[in-house]
Subunit: 502 residues, 2 copies
């Protein structure tokens, strides 16, 4: 009789379950889908052993218990429910970590296949020759070493300001001179010294640009600190009433931060925004460090290999159509260039923003590893530019955009100004090392503004995302081809005056 | 003075924020990261306009309010916090929907490039000739039409059972005969009729296999219904006490379901598990239907194009090394075959499990669209097999694995039995149409068992996922090459007795 009662109970339960299923509206599935799944489908999955996430996750029930549960007819009856497929956008499911792993596996397989077929064709001598022409004359390296002068100058100015030897006005003047020279000095050197290669020059200019942004931030933050301490002094009575003894952690406060050690930590730290007390990670994880180091070496090899074996042949073959302005042929070369260029950019992104910056951060126990956000999901051009390079984005926001807004500039104008500044630096980093002033990088950056408007206006969701990818895949090789063409025309056709290496 | 007070308040707030940041342990970020982000970083992001997800999502603050918030120095000071990069596995971030879009964009670009370069090379006549040799003699189509006999036979048996004309024993016997003939009849026809092509034969056998699984489920569910109604009759008093009037929805109950219309709906519905009341979607969404139809046509074209232009040349060129058993050359061909084969499988997966099944489901207003789960994230082989083909998985669980467990078989033995049955059907669907009995598909399926053990034992997380991908990419082409080699040897070298088209 107990058996019959159980069966009847199950029957009632089943009917209720059926009713609730019948009323069920299409479930808007969320990211934490599996959990929702389990709770909604609990009644019918209670005896469902193999469907669960992992075999190891199974509750350790005895086989007797399990048999009893399977006896319940309810889970034999209603085995369907109203739901969307995961790949439908209506499902809201977005966990595709596996697709990323798939890309990595495909990349590794392709690499193994290429190496097994062609052997290692990368020529390390040629790589070094990109940076250095003459091993006893390394102007780019010397230029980087000289940059320490500007760091020390900035520190000296701040020291003077902190003790009150310099007034704010004098301090600003000295800083302005120091920062302008930081930007202009390498330009004159790169343009004057013939033995600097384009790659070496670009690297040195990159170092100086980063230094400029860092010293600008250093100057700003120290000024803010002085402003704050003045305000503090004025309201000393109120300030004393708050519990300052809570601060048990070792925290530096102004002007205790104006030291050589502190400034050099900031110069090497993977950020452009100065802060008195950076968040620090508790220890250096050796396995993490070694994995990042391995990635750095592997991807460097891959970058060089792909460039030498895939990019350069296509670029060389596209010189002829570019000269003749053969439009259909140019389009064809462009499409052929787009894929390797895009892959190189992706590998470069991972190599620089994930491997290298994390490596440095781990070494310096720098806590904030947000060097990029999820730009791969960006559905607008704006979102992409705000999330692919977080150090620069943070700097622009803190030291450029917000001060602009504060001074009364409208939001739209502020955003355009950020793009303009970004376009200037892109141009600076490309034109000077190549020793030719062409507007392609500048125009490429400025073209992002109407494009961003168009995408935000007309495209949504996955279509917007596809448009962002397409602009990346197609946009970059156009600029690359432009520069390469002009460089080629300048150095190899109109006499060999420049004679720079390719 | 109000200004100063505000500044001081901000200072206190800032200090507290700094302290809380200093104590912060590495945040275990979850999928809904942006929300957590916003709440944790709320203090420093309150005036942060550009960082927000979308410009359109911005709260509509006046520019005056915004300027006031920017004045607060707290968000100028602490702009870093302890956090991992998103791509680090420690971050727990898993939203890579954009990567999937990237794959789609790359696929489309490649297709456009190939078509712009080579034109449309797909020969529709050749595609049709894969199915039909002689347009006036279509044995495969006839075979599919004949299958209606078995459907009607199953319905007849159930009708008899429902009114009590057949005893359970007789019903089981008739069903068993009907089901065995469903499996054996097409085999004899395919092996006997010379004009059936391998592709046509495989399609017909696929239809019969699906029908077998469906009719088996139909028989089981109707039996369960009878068992339940008997139990109900025995405990009639108890059953009446429960509120049966709640069931206001139109719900069919046994034996009202044993109709031709109901059975044919089940036969065409994209599921293998019979249920009396399937969840139904409220209406046919035309745009959804048309998008699925477009995908079906596009991917059919792509599948045929890739096979004709990429797969077949590689297979043809690998015949010689396979004959000579030239191992290094075989490995090289295998790696070359792996990539197109894998891409074809992926496209086939999408074409069949997303586009086609969703198309049919939309047309029939069938509610349950879970034809696959997130197998792309699977970290064990077992998880992959449980999630890539949900209709078959559901059937195995409901009509094979659970009854086995119920009859006292251990969990491990039950799983192996499921794999064995699956291996049998794989072999059945490949060997019979090719008219040669080779153990490759069977062995391929059975090899999954030790592989699953190995991956579950030694690999975790992303490494496990990579192993699953690798087994898919490398495993399949081995089996394909084996069959192709044997088919080639049988039909093209040892005389042209078979003479089947390639």
């Amino acid at each position: 009789i107990g058996d019959i009662m159980e069966e009847t109970g199950a029957l009632i339960r089943k009917r209720r379950a059926t009713i609730s299923t019948g009323k069920c509206v299409p479930l808007k599935q969320v990211n934490g889908r599996s959990e929702v799944d389990e709770s909604v489908n609990g009644r019918s999955d209670s005896g469902n052993i193999v469907t669960k996430r992992n075999v190891s996750d199974l509750p350790s029930t005895t086989s007797k218990e399990r048999k009893k549960r399977i006896n319940v007819p309810s889970d034999r009856q209603s085995c369907h429910r109203l739901q969307e497929s995961l790949l439908s956008s209506a499902s809201g499911y977005r966990n595709y970590r596996g697709v990323l792993n798939w890309c990595v596996v495909m990349l590794c397989l392709t690499t193994v296949f290429c190496f097994s077929r062609y052997g290692i064709l990368v020529d390390p001598i040629q790589v070094v020759s990109l940076f250095i022409k003459d091993p006893y004359n390394m102007p780019a390296a010397c230029l980087v070493i000289v940059s320490n002068v500007f760091i020390v100058a900035a520190l000296y100015t701040e020291r003077r300001l902190s003790v009150g030897c310099f007034s704010e006005r004098v301090g600003l003047l000295v800083h302005s001179i120091n920062l302008s020279v930081t930007l202009c000095f390498p330009v004159t050197i790169v343009l004057m010294v013939k033995s600097i290669t384009p790659v070496g020059g670009a690297s040195a200019l990159g170092v100086y640009t980063v230094l400029f942004l860092k010293l600008y931030s250093y100057k700003d933050v120290n000024k803010w600190c002085r402003e704050m301490s003045h305000a503090k002094a004025r309201s000393l009575a109120r300030s004393l009433s708050c519990k300052s003894s809570v601060s048990t952690d070792y925290q530096v406060s102004y002007p205790g931060n104006v030291t050589l050690r502190d400034l050099y930590y900031f110069v090497f730290a993977p950020t452009l925004c100065y802060e008195l007390n950076f968040p620090r990670s508790p220890r250096i994880r050796m396995s993490f460090l070694l994995r990042r180091l391995f990635e750095m070496l592997f991807f460097t090899q891959l970058l060089v290999g792909l460039t030498q074996q895939w990019m350069i042949p296509i670029i060389q073959s596209s010189m002829k159509p570019l000269e003749d302005m053969d439009l259909p042929m140019m389009m064809e070369r462009l499409l052929r260039l787009a894929v390797p260029n895009h892959l190189l950019w992706l590998i470069f992104f991972y190599w620089f923003f994930h491997s290298s910056l994390n490596f440095i951060a781990e070494l310096l126990q720098f806590g904030d590893r947000e060097f990029y956000r999820d730009w791969w999901n960006s559905e607008t051009i704006t979102y992409f530019w705000q999330n692919w390079n977080i150090p620069v984005h943070k700097w622009c926001l803190r030291h450029f955009y917000k001060p602009l807004l504060k001074s009364g500039v409208s939001k739209w104008l502020g955003q355009s100004a950020v793009f303009l500044a970004s376009a200037f630096f892109h141009e600076y980093l490309v034109s000077v090392p190549l020793k030719m002033l062409r507007p392609w990088a500048f125009m490429g950056m400025m073209a992002q503004l109407p494009l961003a408007w168009f995408v935000a206006r007309f495209l949504r969701g996955n279509y917007g995302n596809a448009a962002v990818w397409l602009s990346l895949i197609i946009g970059q090789p156009i600029a690359v081809l432009m520069y390469v063409h002009d460089y080629y025309v300048l150095h190899y056709r109109e006499g060999s005056a420049g004679g720079g290496p390719e």
